[in-house]
Amino acid sequence: MTDAAQPNRLPAGGAIQGLIDRDRLLAFTFDGKVYAGHAGDTLASALIAAGVKLIGRSFKYHRPRGIFSAGPEEPNALVELRTGARREPNTRATTIELYDGLEAASQNRWPSLAFDILAVNQIASPLFVGGFYYKTFMWPASFWEKVYEPLIRRAAGLGRASEYPDPDRYEKAYAFCDVLVIGSGPAGLAAALAAGRSGARVILCEDDARLGGRLLGERQTIDDAPAHLFAAAASDELGSLPDVCVMSRTQVFGAYDDGVYGALERVADHMTAPAAGVPRQRLWRIAAKRCVNAMGATERPIVFGGNDRPGVMLASAVRTYLNRFGVLPGRKPVVFTTNDDGWKTVADLAAAGAQVEAVVDPRASVDETLTKAAAAAGARVLLGGRIVDVAGDARGVTSAVVSAGGKRQVFAADLVAVSGGWNPQVALTTHRGGKPRWSEALSTFVPGDLPDGMAVTGAANGDFGLAESLRGGSAAGAAAAAACGFSATPAPQPRAEDEPAAVVPLWHVDGGRYKAFVDLQNDVTAGDIALAHAEGFRSIEHLKRYTTLGMATDQGKTSNLNGHAMMAALTGQAMSDVGTTLSRPPHQPVAIGAFAGHHRGRHFRPTRHVPGHAWAIENGAVMVEAGPWLRPQYFPRPGEKDWLASVVREVRTVRSSVGVCDVSTLGRIDIRGRDAATFLDRVYINTFSTLPVGKARYGVMLREDGFVMDDGTTSRFGDDHYVMSTTTANAAKVMQHLEFCHQALWPELDVAMVSVTEQWSQYAVAGPKARELLAQLYGSDVDLSNDALPYMGCREISLRGITTRLFRISFSGELAYELAAPARHGAAVLEDLMALCDTFGGCPYGTEAQSVMRIEKGHVAGNELNGQTVARDLGLGRMMSTKKDYIGRVMADRPALVAPDRPTLVGIRPVEKGRRLTAGAHILPGGAAAVAASDQGYVTSVAYSPALEGWIGLALVVNGPTRHGERVRAYDAVRNNDQDVTICAPVFVDPEGVRLRG
């Protein structure tokens, strides 16, 4: 019984009915028209069932194209899947599992699939020959941008990407196993069973939704039962083994160093949209001690005239559509095969009710079991024959022209099944540099040198027989498990036969009327190969670049070998000398989204919060990224018209009363040991061994090449105990550097260090009332007087039973302290501080106010510690000890680094009062032209100074310290700011430091 909606669906109960679930009907649309299919279908098989032959238009010539294969090698049947933000271009109809509500559209057609205006490109095809982009559309040059490029972009191309952000989530995951088995055909299943039964941890990855590989597409028997039942039983047994993990819908796309494999799991690609909380795809990194590669083989087409027409199909794909999907791709087929395997197609088609017109084989004689079976199926047998041309149109194939016995015959046909033999899937064996080996017997490349730990078995190794695949897989699985220390008594081999598999090479049938395509996806023709040869692009790597052979999304899975063999024939080289082009991961296209995983937008890297984060948010802070952290930038108050107003108010409050700033993000490294002092002397340019206990000192460290690496305050809490602070951005880098200095340079030093950044919360309390505020916090028992805790002093002080550390250090230039509390008490201490701060009329301040005050004081920060400055440039030359060695000392004395005319730190002020400065402006001599030759330095930091009621800046200027008072030009072409400024000392507020010592 034939369903009117699925005219090509084979009836239930027939000799061939497929493995689909006929009870589950699924509706889908293609180009807006509604069709029906069944659970277990692919989009391709459902379209064949519905009688749809024309799927898309080709890349360059807009030729009508249909379904060519039944797997991931598909070059033709590419569609746009889904709509809107989930629209995905260039998906292969042959691998898309059908689901209810699936929406697909054909690509590269305009205005419609059936009527495509740009098919005239075929007539203009001399313009599009190999290397056309090097030759045509070159003149006149002015036409390129406005005429040629838009024309080519409209004409050539495939699907359209979605223009919206991807709404789905992607995950990354890691897995570890003893034995990774790739592929679940007969060899893969046998390998997984053998390894799994021994108790080894096994991961079996199968690209398809269903295990079985070719077993699902052939009418073979194992243990006298249909082979797909063996696959189902194996699947059940593997599922029952506790240490075996079967991952279907998972393609292994790359082999990497040390047994690491990349795999993509399509978690929700077979649904309209992923369920809530479920990723669309998951990228696996699988570390395997051993790998059994059983990826199988891809059937090779033959190049002849009109071989791209809808209805020309790989012979194995025809059998898959019959046996797995229960659909009939053609009623009047012709079979063209160079090998015994292709003859199976005749019997399968006949069993499904097709009238096989002819079977064509270039061999003069073949095994007579083949010819007898074909004759029984009613097919004409044409030995010594070739298909020269296939005629047809957008509706598909209409006839095949066969040359045999010196004459040409025309057969009416609606399907041409083609087999040129099989190519083992060697890609994964070559990802780490292995070269495949040419097999004369199989006329194809087979795996050569293998990556460490990988064995190849079954069709992937060129062992195409069913029995040998089962046997080889079983042996490979057992050997892999044994290599990991697992053994098991071998189970009896399942009964199966090796069918005849003889093959002769035939790449190209010359002499046809129609274009003969080598690479269907990139529209590379036999003529293009000849042209490349004639023009000298003869090495296969040149051939590839010149013609684009194998450069499409299918990476030449069905075209490379034919193209290379055709070039070899033209140059007279042996295939073993020609070799293959290098293949790199990924073996199949992988979406960038899967590689990105969770690392998108805000989640590109983790965001770190300080213990005071919640308080800052509650109090209206505007947050800013500082290294990996979020810090309050400023705290706007009602009525303040912009950020500058808030920042000015915060600075004024600190300078007149008191303010509190969360400085928890600064790096803190705890350093202990008998040699801690010696160690610090060697990493800092200044001396820390002389620092008394209870004191802090500002330190600068260099890279070994003499440039400044980082700065910060380091305090001594005991003879053997220092606490170093680093800048927020360099915290991890300094930690790594110190570990390097200790472990790689001076392991004999008795010192140990650990990062305690996250263990402490730290708050700057700054302003004339800072001491009063802290006195109230700590209570009257604690003496905070200038004598008890002088400038640059530090002490551990108990606060309600909590050990806190109080440092008398100042970045703002005011009387200031930094209070460190254990992180778990950080939020509570901050709240107490702020409550007291309010009573003094103080306020919290953020990074902006902090930055304004440090510029007013001429303190250097990240803008000045930019990797291009040495200590002298920053006015810190006097800190460089001459009494000891330290990292960077020798190199810092290089002539260019001590040259007096190096750009050196100065302050600048606008000549025109009130004018705004911009960082990044170049300093030029007054009146000089804005050319590179006049460049004398640049502005590093700028701020509006509430104290000076105008803009101020820091700059690095040639001979800077000798030029105070000079008027120069600050030229900023990027921000359109060109003005005269006056050079001055880089300290704008309280240059004598009276306040901070108060």
Binding site: Y174, Y256, D257, D258, G259, V260, R285, A287, R432, G433, D452, E704, D705, A732, Q736, E739, F740, H742, Q743, A744, L745, P747, E748, D885, R889, V890, M891, D893, R894
Partner: protein
């Protein structure tokens, strides 16, 4: 790539940071008369062999050890990984 850390076992490359040629652990004597020349070579000049290469890796995502890893630059095969501090102290004791 996977690196066999002497403390942590075989770990994924993402846990490590690369520094470069292991000669960086042989800091020249700053007091030698040709210190400038020797530091120039130490900081700037590196061998770039095709084949076995001793190089420094930092296990920042693990035990924070600096490792001297012997890697074949042609194949990425890792022949050896030892603690840099251990190889230094061996070198120091004749």
């Amino acid at each position: 790539m996977r690196i066999p850390c002497p403390f942590c076992g075989v770990r994924d490359i993402t846990e490590f940071t690369y520094l470069g040629d292991a000669s960086l652990s042989q800091r020249p004597d700053p007091a030698s008369p040709d210190a400038a020349k020797r530091f120039h070579e130490y900081v700037h000049l590196r061998d770039n062999p095709a084949g076995l290469h001793d190089e420094l890796w930092y296990h920042g995502g693990g035990c924070r050890s600096w490792l001297t890893v012997t890697r074949n630059t042609r194949t990425h095969a890792i022949e050896d990984a030892k603690l840099t501090r251990a190889s230094k102290s061996r070198a120091a004791t004749p």
